[in-house]
Amino acid sequence: MQHLGFSHTKLKIGSFDFTCCEGCQLQLANHESSLPAFLELLDIRNFREISSERHDDYDIALVEGSITRQDEVERLETIRKNAKVLVAYGSCACFGGVNSLKNNFPLDQAVREVYGDKSVDTLPVRKISDVVKVDYSIPGCPVSKEEVERIIVSIATGSIISLPKYPVCVECKQRLNTCLFDLGEICLGPITRAGCDAVCTSGKTPCLGCRGPADDINFPSFKQLVSDLKLSRDELDEKLGFYNCFEEFRHDKS
């Protein structure tokens, strides 16, 4: 393939899914009009969801989902060995995601409730970096395809890879939305990392923090805001616990 007269080596890529809804992989097949051009950049070596050809010589492994069973640990370790760069993408891979809500219940009780007496293997939910080294993380539930494309291109070209440091509030203001706190809602936009273009709050739905904490957030001040507005602390806790990415703040009882 030629670009501006230079030849370009296609990135050998693999995409792998663990415990999740596979919605992040699906984003890779979106933006249909530019999809053939995006695929031109890639040499897809292993992507079970779309191809029956499977090879182990990929340089970049995109890993989606969280780890909840021993066979997943082994499969993930093999992928780590095969790949030069491992990218965890999606909130399940980066934080454990909604799957982590399971960890609020005793495991044997959860199994009994769903499967009765049948024995079913399941472990407490772990994020990818709890099991293997992760080189880059792309959070989001689901991820934004633009961000995944940008980061894959950055890996290919050796450019600096970064996520926005500022919170969703910044993007929400840029979209001229009415603040959801003014409508009496608890919104995690002031403390959550931007990069989603404030998609939820622009749909008049409070942010549940799927991208995790922004850099240097002022959590005491945020909590004070919720309390000054006489909003429910229980509701705040439910929201902070939704994607398992505010654990250090959630249990701060100050």
Partner: protein, 425 residues
């Protein structure tokens, strides 16, 4: 003729959502075993919803599935609204139905072009087709894009809807965007014709195993949200009686549950909807079905692919007329204000892969006490399992070799468009 000996062991079948295995053992021409085993890790959504506030639940349950998140959100919303006796405004109902159309079109296009068609043209994926059949790939991508455009405009995002909420919708689409969407949908009508023409060149395997088909039925329209539960064997039930239509049970070899009704197995999905609701299809969709020789009641599972294509015709035409109605609607009543109330009810919707049930029980503070989700693929598992035996036997009689038998079995499973992580949830 030498007798076939083969042991087919497909670990983590490709081109399906989630993780499932096919195992077939044939000794000296005799079928010893044919198994469809789901090996997906369970996530325990029914446990996770316990104690959660009703308004948060659709945002959690939509995460059951990355492909049919709108269906899951709406099944939860419907069960919670019925449990707490909340009536959403008419405009919200219209927007929700349009959202279902978007999801179904996107999902069917993804399945037909990315997952199913490669088998019929003997390629490992859609990727080689970008060069060999650019016209048809572009048509498929435009159809998928149109489905996604509907979802984005009606729910705020392609996957995991943001504006579908208990009580209604949190935001209405802008009229100018609705008009642009209508033009986009009119623009893909020729793509449906191209897809019809292309699919007519494919050989659909000739295989029939008589079974029962279950879908929603309302007697007025082709069903997507709520209604009675109907089977081709003549059983009709109220939505809240979903347990008598599913009879879930467990087997050792699979992490997904299985279901049955009048027979050992039944099927849900596009073909089930078609078989029960043919009369309510758009005339153009009926014409398309006729050209493929698809008439109710059809028992060939491979024809589920064609039933999906027929539904794409219906959806595009119906979505265009629904947008025309929304353009005349002031869209000022979007959400009913509600207060929590104790109750329990079922919400049934037709997800792209078939009838989906959520049943929620809430307490007087609006927190979920008990949740139950029965997934279309769960309902199809026993049917897939039994199809594999019958199909392998037929293929043996036709003198097919192990590679051909494996391909046929993989194609049969893919025809159901299984959503495996969904089925285990």
């Amino acid at each position: 003729m030498t007798k076939v000996n083969c042991s087919i062991d497909v670990h983590h079948l490709t081109r399906v959502e989630g993780h499932g295995d096919i195992r077939i053992s044939i000794k000296e021409g005799k079928l010893i075993d044919a198994t469809w085993a789901v090996v997906e890790t369970p996530r325990f959504f029914e446990v996770m919803v316990k104690g959660m506030s009703a308004q948060r639940v659709p945002f959690l349950t939509s995460r059951i599935c990355g492909i049919c998140s709108i269906s899951h959100a709406l099944a939860s919303i419907r069960s919670l609204e019925r449990a707490m006796e909340i009536t959403p405004p008419d405009a919200a109902e219209k927007i929700r139905l349009l959202a279902m159309h978007g999801e179904t079109l996107q999902s069917h296009a993804l399945h037909l072009f990315f997952l199913a068609i490669p088998d019929f043209v003997n390629t490992p994926s859609v990727l080689p087709l970008i060069k060999s059949h650019p016209e048809i790939v572009q048509a498929g991508l435009r159809l998928k894009e149109a489905g996604n455009a509907i979802s984005a405009l009606t729910t705020g995002r392609l996957t995991h809807p943001v504006s579908l909420v208990v009580g209604g919708v949190s935001k209405a689409p802008e009229k100018k965007d609705l008009l642009a969407l209508k033009h986009q949908l009119e623009g893909v009508l020729p793509d449906l014709e191209k897809t019809d023409a292309f699919c007519k060149t494919l050989t659909i395997p000739d295989f029939t195993r008589e079974t029962e088909f279950v879908s929603l039925y309302n007697g007025i329209t082709y069903p997507f949200i709520g209604g009675d539960l109907l089977s081709t064997d003549g059983i009709r039930q109220n939505e809240n009686e979903y347990l008598t239509m599913t009879n879930e049970y467990l087997e050792e070899y699979t992490t997904s549950k299985l279901t049955k009704l009048s027979r050992e197995s039944f099927a849900a999905g596009a073909l089930a909807r078609f078989n029960n609701n043919y009369a309510f299809l758009h005339p153009r969709a009926k014409e398309a079905a006729e050209t493929f020789g698809l008439r109710p009641v059809n028992h060939n599972p491979f024809m589920n692919n064609i039933a999906q294509l027929v539904e794409c015709h219906h959806i595009v035409h119906d979505a265009i007329s629904m947008i025309e109605k929304l353009l005349d609607d002031p869209l000022d009543q979007l959400k009913t204000q509600w207060t929590p109330k104790a109750g329990a009810a079922t919400g049934a919707v037709e997800a792209p892969r078939g009838i989906l049930y959520h049943h929620m029980e809430v307490d007087e503070s609006g927190k979920v006490v008990k949740g139950d989700c029965i997934i279309p693929t769960t309902q199809n598992n026993a049917n897939i399992h039994l199809d594999l035996s019958a199909l392998a036997l037929q293929a043996l009689e036709e003198g097919k070799n192990d590679k051909e038998i494996q391909l046929l079995c993989e194609m049969a499973v893919r025809s159901y468009d299984p959503c495996i992580s969904c089925s285990v949830h």
